[in-house]
Symmetry: C2
Subunit: 406 residues, 2 copies
Amino acid sequence: MSAYRIGLLGHGTVGGAFDALLAERAQSIERITGRRPEITGVLTRSRGDFADLLERSDAIVELIGGVEPALEYVGRALESGLPVITANKQLLSRHGEELWSLARERGVTLSFEAAVAGVIPVVRVLRESLAGAHVERIHGIVNGTTNYILSEMTRSGSDYGEALAAAQRLGYAEADPTDDVGGADAAAKMAILARLAFSTPVHFDDVRFEGIAGITRDDIAYARELGLSLKLIGTAERLAGGISVRVHPAFLYAGHPLASVNGAFNAVTVESDAITEITMSGPGAGGSQTASAVLGDVVAAIGGAAALGEPLERLEVVEDVVSAFYVHMEVDDRPGVLAQIAKLLGDAGASIKSVVQRGIGERAQLMMVTHPLAQSSLRGALSAIGELDYVHASPRAISVIDEEFM
Amino acid sequence: MSAYRIGLLGHGTVGGAFDALLAERAQSIERITGRRPEITGVLTRSRGDFADLLERSDAIVELIGGVEPALEYVGRALESGLPVITANKQLLSRHGEELWSLARERGVTLSFEAAVAGVIPVVRVLRESLAGAHVERIHGIVNGTTNYILSEMTRSGSDYGEALAAAQRLGYAEADPTDDVGGADAAAKMAILARLAFSTPVHFDDVRFEGIAGITRDDIAYARELGLSLKLIGTAERLAGGISVRVHPAFLYAGHPLASVNGAFNAVTVESDAITEITMSGPGAGGSQTASAVLGDVVAAIGGAAALGEPLERLEVVEDVVSAFYVHMEVDDRPGVLAQIAKLLGDAGASIKSVVQRGIGERAQLMMVTHPLAQSSLRGALSAIGELDYVHASPRAISVIDEEFM
């Protein structure tokens, strides 16, 4: 049969790795699919012509990243009836619904395994293996940079700035790390996973996110005494009133399947009644890992993969979620302090699961873990506690994922 | 569109769970695929007629298990041009090639996600996500019963018989546990995974397997001092001369992704140059988990899934594999013993990585971990060591998976 001609947009780290991997695996793919994939042309900022590439291609692989000009190119390729494979999480979390809809209209595939969670095939698993399941919740470590930084702070006791510098030296963090450490990168990925899991439109703007720049080495050290480890966790879950999709630092108990995922790794846990839970883990996106995920989509596209279904219903985004919390306070260590703080928390509906106190005198550190309560209730209690005269600075709170696992 | 009529063979634990899950999810599947799946008839030992069921079905779901009569039914269904979905590892590890070949001829799908590793979608990941990858090695904990027993021995210090009895009480082990504890169940699954990973025919008889009945609580306790945990591990790997597919107890270092998989769980690690490694874990096959995997295949079959490709080449099965080993000996504790044993091991090419000695006098226990060497060389050295007059009983050896992970 004829060659499968791929028009490649972008030739940076991932584009270059894809080009090399495709050449290496082309013969083996031909034996599996009957068609030999080949790069028919490359478009970069400095070379190539998009209209010409469209003419000569059976599929477009978009590895430019960012919204423009990727949006224009992907839209035009789908309009022309070409399948598109992309690793672009920004594009899909902001314009996914219009692009998936266009792909359905034209009867072509828009594939995007490489946009989320590196080599972990979570997109395929959600779209296919779990298509018949009722997914209740996804927890993910979907940003390798922040997981590396938090692992390094935990391992070496270094502070955030030192760990970030180490990540930059090793190539795990960019010179401008804002998108990663601020949580926006993880938020875009969670928007895409939530769309797949719940068949409801989820836009980047629906995801509340918070990064790791405010984490101190004390948070990590004290929480360790409570048996907790700190990760930047993305959550997508069904709630009574709709769904919640969010990204924030969270403490995990040692038995949680994500607690032992260290370094520049990604991992995703999917929960549903019928399956209980599946956990998938692997290296975060490096060039060759992303290229491998793109190549899997190319193989599927040659076989003629299905388009993503229409969203089934629009679920509301719930803002006030229930969670257990780690709370850190600096207090004067004098009689009655703990009782009064516990009362304020109790009035808000927070019962205390464990307490650690450190230091004596005017600057004692008080760390607590609560049982689950509404975020808004906790916020109210912390604001009242912050006004007590023997409490220095504002109390700090970090979510604790408090599920029981084997 | 019309209903998607499923003829169901078998209505035991898994068949019943599938029936119930299908009813619960039918509407949601109709929204995704456009067709509403329904059970059009059931065949069990006591009711139903196969020829009649074939007439009335769009697909056959085979949940009888065992080779006959499943082989006849699946063959006849494929002959008639019906897609078949099966959870039958015995059937596929012994007759897979003829059935896949028949399915290709007739242009229909034979799906089997539920045959391997419970809810973990490793079949789909190998067939699709990694279709373009060059898989080097798979390590799997693919039998929940044995993993439960070994976890229980580790946790409670109980011996094999006690842990087996506990597993039986909890429903994790059958009254006749032979297939699970002897390793045959895991061997059938590894044959199927190896076929997918390497695109070469792999028959159940190509898999060497050894179970866990010989494991003592001492093995587990002493190995713990060396930082090792014991699992029943299935391995499928490419070697210089071909492939090796095998199942045996193995010790893992704490950093290995499978080392922390405890209880009745399954987990699979897939390694390839481009992806480094992916690990997937989840509950071993219970009724509802298996039913969920079958349902995922039903959804794919409605969409028209691809047939499994022809095997690409026949790779030789290599018998003498290289591994690190844990060696356990009972010796008289007297001068020169360790030196002479170390020399015999050194002559065979085994260098010692760590040693633990316990007890003194006539019945000292000597435990060693070697660096990797050929199994045949180790066997030669152990046989020579066994003949030394201060060595009591035969030395015992268990593989150690000695890869470096983060």
